[in-house]
Symmetry: C2
DNA sequence: TTTTCATTATACCGATTGGTATAATTAATG
DNA sequence: CATTAATTATACCAATCGGTATAATGAAAA
């Protein structure tokens, strides 16, 4: 099996379970069935391993969103729907990475883990901001509140995923495996109600 | 000055800034201008210090919510308004603790920091669940979804605070100091729209 | 077969981790 | 003044931290 990929998998699993700082390099290499120099050969440092995990996960997320987003259409509701669909699908398919991403998003701003996600989050925000920008004709004058909308929208989706996964966590189930289109549309409706008023 | 209180202040400041695991006991006592045995005299362990911080902060939050909540009234909108007002006021007055609480809420479920907040969060959820329970006559049959509502509502409020503090973070401002009642009512309206439909 | 180069195992490093034993200090009480 | 009990400073501990020097391995190319 591919060592590099295996290390990434194992480390993501442990980071999302116990947190980046609480997991030692020693634990990782033992779980992965390798030794320390192998890990340092591939990633250079523990922080480098974290960066590689984020690079990997966010590129999948970008790809997922990119495959859904349509540059031609500028219908707000349809755009929001596609982003939500992509986002929620990703949250189900890569649930481990998603919950890890969430924990980093809310982690201490002065810490190393946050420093590592920050550029990825900014890039993600920017993509959503651009989408709102394109749809500005339908939303009226946003007075530079696109950024606030983007953060609100992503937070809204995150909250949805978190609530459901948390509820299932207490009940020892997995995340629902299928994203229902009607549920997503109802979600969009709820979010837009807060905007258009 | 009171040593115990000073340690709590300094530790909360550092934990919220860099994260629990990333802050060493040594750093804390140096910042607080004391020595290690003093800290261990009061709190027994680093984890004990964390527990004391949470005990302190959550008791303030409970008190804040308790002072707003009205057991007699069972009007949903009014109850939700009071909880929101209390919550947001607390987020402004104890912004440091609030952001630290948020980071713990989303932190790794298998980690020690989460283990420490878990009971406090459950208690908080329970208070909100009870509120929905009392208001069930107005919301129709909730089919045991009170728990989901409670989580959704708290997450909704958290997201609101997070979005604003994050936006201000990028702009190097403080959180707005005054909670506007109209903003809160509009927030409730937005949340309820998602429920009653 | 020999050379080459990516990959891995053994063993180690200084620094820091959370935590503590012990005695000195301080303030209040008898 | 003597005694007690809370509080603090000095100095230390084993264990673990992230990271590395060095040489052995493996397979592929010459």
């Amino acid at each position: 099996m591919d060592n590099r990929g295996n290390i990434l998998d194992v480390a993501l699993h442990m980071f999302s379970d116990k947190g980046y700082d609480a997991v030692s390099v020693q634990e990782i290499v033992e779980s992965a069935g390798i030794t320390k120099p192998t890990l340092y050969y591939y990633f250079g440092s523990k922080y480098g391993l974290l960066e590689a995990i984020l690079e990997d996960g966010f590129s999948k997320l970008d790809q997922m969103i990119g495959s859904y987003i349509d540059e031609d259409s500028n219908d707000v509701r349809e755009q929001l729907f596609k982003v939500a669909k992509a986002f929620l699908t990703f949250a189900v398919e890569e649930s481990r990475f998603f919950s890890f991403m969430l924990s980093l998003m809310y982690s201490a701003k002065g810490g190393e883990p946050y420093k590592a996600v920050k550029p990825h989050l900014h890039k993600l925000y920017q993509a959503i901001i651009d989408m709102f920008e394109r749809s500005s004709s339908q939303l009226g004058n946003m007075n530079g509140r696109q950024e606030q909308f983007a953060m609100g929208y992503l937070g809204f989706l995150n909250q949805y995923v978190f609530t459901f996964s948390e509820r299932n966590f207490f009940r020892d189930n997995d995340l629902r495996e299928h994203i229902n289109d009607d549920d997503v549309r109802s979600l969009i409706q709820q979010f837009m109600y807060g905007i258009v008023s």
